[in-house]
Symmetry: C2
């Protein structure tokens, strides 16, 4: 991060500078992704506000979304288990 001792100029490459640039690049990538996530969160809030404006209760909507997510996870888990059992008894699709 800080300026490396460029006057050193020996055999070893200026490792600290290279690492600093690489680190900054990682951090900036993460920050960009987090910004995109924040924008999506704002979009979600907007959709809820719009739904509310249409007379829907957003608390109940959140419950529905939670239930659907749980159902999807259950379904996926059951499918994986089904596959596992099929393979275990040598039953291929």
């Amino acid at each position: 991060m800080a300026d490396g001792p460029e006057e050193a100029g020996g055999e070893a490459p200026p490792v600290s500078d290279i690492a600093g640039d690489r680190l900054r690049s990682f951090i900036e990538r993460i920050e960009r992704l987090e910004e995109e996530k924040a924008a999506l969160s704002a979009d979600v809030r907007e959709v809820y506000a719009e739904a509310k404006g249409n007379g829907f209760d957003t608390k109940i909507m959140r419950q529905i979304i939670k239930l659907r997510k749980m159902e999807q996870a259950d379904r996926r888990e059951q499918e994986e288990l089904l596959d596992l059992y099929k393979k275990a008894i040598g039953m291929w699709e």
Copy 2:
């Protein structure tokens, strides 16, 4: 959500069906946005994993990102306050 009583066919439009479709549309929009958010979260995890693979301590990286976010928020707050004071004393840019 459930099938409305279509045999009713009176003056009133089948409000429950329309509302159900609208509600489903809101819910599906939110679910799509949440999926995109989850994908971004996975991307963030990948970047951290890559950084770790490059020898960086991800806990410290998280602290740096937090600090940078706080600094940015502070800077923005100060700028807003500066604008407010400027306007308050009739000093326009």
